[in-house]
Amino acid sequence: MKNGQNVLRIQEHHDCAFVRRVEQQSHQKVSQCYQCGNCTASCAFTDDYDFPVNQIMRLIQLGRKETVLGSRAIWLCGQCQACTVRCPCTIDVARVMGTLRVLALENGYVADKNLRRFADEFLRSVSLFGRVFEAGLLAAYKLRSGTVLSDMELAPELLKKGKLSFVPHRIGGRREVAALVKRFSSAL
């Protein structure tokens, strides 16, 4: 195992409540996984993962809550569905990965702060205007994440092609939308 943990005491680190929670929230039965590895074989993002998907599934089976929720992999998943489509055990693996993100946030684990920042800015934009105001969102995100310089080469092209609108479109029902965001998100 990674992180120098070469001996794992199975009983000591088994968090049953975590396994149940993942299964309930994702509506998937993780015990169905027999570790064929097809999710990893099909994963476009596995190069950057700390644990390949099949090991994430194994770690859930073993109830290793901290390792799973603290992993980088769950934040890098692109939700491309390749794992779900090819799973011979018909587990919606992408959905499990999505569920893990929600649980990680709930439990105060955030492996990728930038992703969190972007998500917050996105929903803020939705609450303000009812739709996403791309130019404003990108500017706000880049500013907050301190990554102003990355992707800078794209801006002139976008401006030239008239692809970035600088006037946000406010919809009539934006208060209604803001209320929905407020009601169903823990973030804002």
Binding site: Y34, Q35, C36, G37, N38, C39, T40, A41, S42, C43, T46, D47, F51, P52, N54, Q55, A82, R86, C87, P88, C89, T90
Partner: protein
């Protein structure tokens, strides 16, 4: 009536969750019960003895055994009471194991339920009558359906014992899947060298009638006396005349047709003998490929045939056979890998199935035994084998293990290395299942002696890159996605029931499991029987099997038939319908519903018409009983009285 009740503990199987003593004590309160006890293992020798003793000591006239399912041991206990002098139909069973102790943990509820089931059985046995079957002569001929290795073995064993055998094969030749194999695991002996002589034997035995290119159309009758209607398909060649010289194949102008025997690799003429060792070695015309049938012109084969055997006007024809027993050995088909869009089988010519690779390996195959790529004829340097394609995969509705693919792959990788010592072989597998004699050693040889690289993980995608293919899989032992560049990819496609298996099951009134394989009589104790008396199973039609297991089952099914035919007559089941003439109003409804034509009119002296049951034809379904308006027709052992007595015991 004096009734005895015997409650089985079945070790702890029943006693663990049912208070058997309380059930026995409670049973004494039922009417007519004069004796009740619990027993440790009722089906054991001492248990049966105990019953027989009690019958004599307590002058019992009826017996209730509360134990396992009657489907398991009813016959055992019927014989036991018979030995004690009771009629076997004065026995009833209460199923307190499969239906009680094994499905619930609540001992109080189970005990109450068991006692109620016993009371219902007592109520039934009080109304039971002694029944006697009659003896009918047996037709000592056996039909074997399917001419693969299992069917061939069964047919030869029966024929060796002197029986008349009717062997029915859907294809124009016998041999089945085994005839297509190059070598067999784990001995690497030549498949056709061991199967060929058996096929020849079939042709030479005078007491085997072979119907090739023939399918079963319908079945009637019961054990001992079946009537089977067969449809002999038109092959457009008179097989009595054809000598199998093969001249027609040479001259046929329509040569480039997909060759079924070579799994679509290579081409075959429209008129052909499937392969050189075919039995019968007769030509047939593939109608869809024949020019005469599509354009009305050609007839080259007809002109060239030295014996004038070609008959374009041939039609399907029916044949009726009378047999006393049937062995079903219809084998299997292979999963169509096109269901995996990500593997590209069908789109990429160098992604092939293991059966196609088998034909490539075979010296009589499309490439003369030289391993080449179908796309460009080049020798492959890197060969990747993919296990479990259509096995253990719920997403394609094949949740079961096919059992043989692990060994097939190991064999093919070894053979590939033998043919092409420079080639590198890779195997993607999930688990290696090699439990047979010398099987695991064989797989180890592939790894250790032949240097086959086993990679533990499934394959996600196969795609072409230039002239080669990229196999994208996982190595779960490493926790990595891996890629292998390949020249040839072999998919070990899974085993599935033979096409048409369900329809055949319907015709034969046998059942199939959820995956479509035929159901054996009991998973352990009746592996070659079906629930229909007189019909037996052999080989992969019952579930995935390798050659040794199929051969063993072929012989086992033959032994069952020989045991059946060891007597001269067979007792009919007396659980048939009978008509109470005084009650019968002659409406004829029973005649119209009977699926077997077992009811006919009988004219009394006064001219009135009454229904009459032909006991030897009646199968005992009871449809007439439920249909009869005045309830004049009653099904023995399942009469209205008997059923209502059970119902009332529970509801009262």
């Amino acid at each position: 009536m004096r009734i005895g009740v015997f409650v089985c503990r079945c070790g702890t199987n029943i006693a663990g969750t049912v208070d058997t003593q309380a059930v026995a004590a409670g049973a004494l309160a039922s009417p007519d019960v004069v004796y009740a006890t619990e027993l440790l293992y009722t089906c054991s020798e001492p248990g049966q003895q105990e019953i027989q003793n009690a019958v004599l000591t307590h002058r019992l006239q009826g017996v209730v055994v509360a134990a396992c399912s009657p489907r398991m041991h009813e016959l055992t206990f019927r014989r036991a009471v018979e030995k004690a002098g009771l009629n076997r139909y004065l026995l009833e069973m209460a199923n307190i194991r499969e239906h009680v102790s094994w499905i619930g943990q609540d001992k109080a509820a189970n005990t109450e339920k068991a006692l109620e089931l016993v009371r219902m059985a007592v109520a039934k046995v009080r109304r039971n009558e002694p029944l006697f079957g009659s003896q009918v002569p047996l037709t000592k001929r056996v039909m074997v359906i399917g001419g693969g290795v299992a069917g061939i073995q069964a047919a030869l064993d029966c024929a060796d014992a002197g029986l008349d055998v009717v062997l029915v094969e859907r294809e124009p030749t016998i041999g089945g899947k085994m005839a297509k194999l190059d070598k067999t695991f784990p001995t690497i002996d030549c498949s056709s060298c061991i199967l060929g002589p058996k096929m020849v034997d079939v042709a030479q035995k005078e007491n085997i009638t072979l119907h090739a290119a023939t399918e079963v159309e319908s079945l009637s009758g019961t054990i001992g006396n079946f009537t089977v209607t067969l449809r002999k398909k038109a092959v457009y060649v008179d097989w009595d005349a054809c000598t199998g010289c093969g001249l027609c194949m040479e001259k046929c102008p329509s040569k480039k047709n997909p060759d079924g025997f070579n799994e679509g690799l290579g081409a075959a003429p429209a008129i052909r003998i499937p392969f050189p060792q075919a039995i019968p070695k007769k030509a047939h015309i593939d109608r869809s490929a024949c020019r005469y049938f599509s354009t009305g012109k050609c007839r080259v084969c007809q002109k060239i045939c030295p014996v004038g055997a070609v008959r374009f006007d041939m039609e399907d024809r029916q044949v009726v056979e009378h047999v006393g027993a049937i062995i079903v050995a219809t084998g299997y088909d292979l999963f169509d890998p096109a269901a995996y869009g990500e593997y590209g089988a069908g789109r990429y010519p160098d992604v092939i199935t293991a059966m196609q690779f088998e034909r490539i390996l075979s010296a009589s195959g499309p490439y003369g035994g030289h391993i080449r790529r179908p796309s460009d004829g080049r020798e492959p340097r890197d060969i990747v084998f993919v296990a479990c394609v259509g096995s253990r995969d719920k997403s394609v509705n094949r949740p079961y293990c096919s059992g043989v693919c692990c060994m097939v792959i190991a064999k093919q990788a070894i053979l590939a290395r033998d043919h092409l010592p420079e080639a590198r072989c890779y195997v993607f597998y999930m688990d290696i299942r090699a439990p047979g004699k010398n099987y695991d050693e064989f797989v180890r040889r592939a790894v250790e002696e032949y240097g086959v690289q086993y990679i533990r993980g499934r394959v996600g995608k196969i795609y072409p890159k230039g002239e080669r293919l990229v196999v994208q899989g996982a190595d779960t032992l490493l926790g990595a996605r891996v890629e292998v560049d390949a020249d040839l990819v072999v998919l070990a496609t899974g085993v599935e029931p033979s096409r048409g298996a369900r329809e055949l099951a319907e015709k034969l009134h046998i059942s199939a499991d959820t995956n479509g394989f035929f159901m054996e009589g009991h998973p352990k104790l009746k592996p070659v029987e079906t629930n229909t008396a007189g019909i037996y199973l052999a080989g992969a039609c019952q579930g995935p099997k390798d050659i040794p297991a199929s051969v063993a089952q072929g012989s086992a099914a033959a032994a069952k038939v020989l045991a059946l035919f060891a007597r001269d007559s067979i007792a009919t089941d007396p659980q048939t319908a009978h008509v109470m003439e005084k009650v019968c109003i002659g409406c004829g409804k029973c005649l119209s519903v009977c699926p077997f034509g077992a009811i006919q009119w009988k004219t009394l002296r006064d001219g009135t018409k009454k229904a009459q049951v032909l006991e030897t034809v009646c199968q005992g379904c009871g449809l007439c009983n439920a249909t009869c308006p005045p309830k004049a027709v009653q099904l023995n052992h399942f009469t209205d009285d008997q059923i209502l007595a059970q119902l009332e015991t529970l509801c009262a």
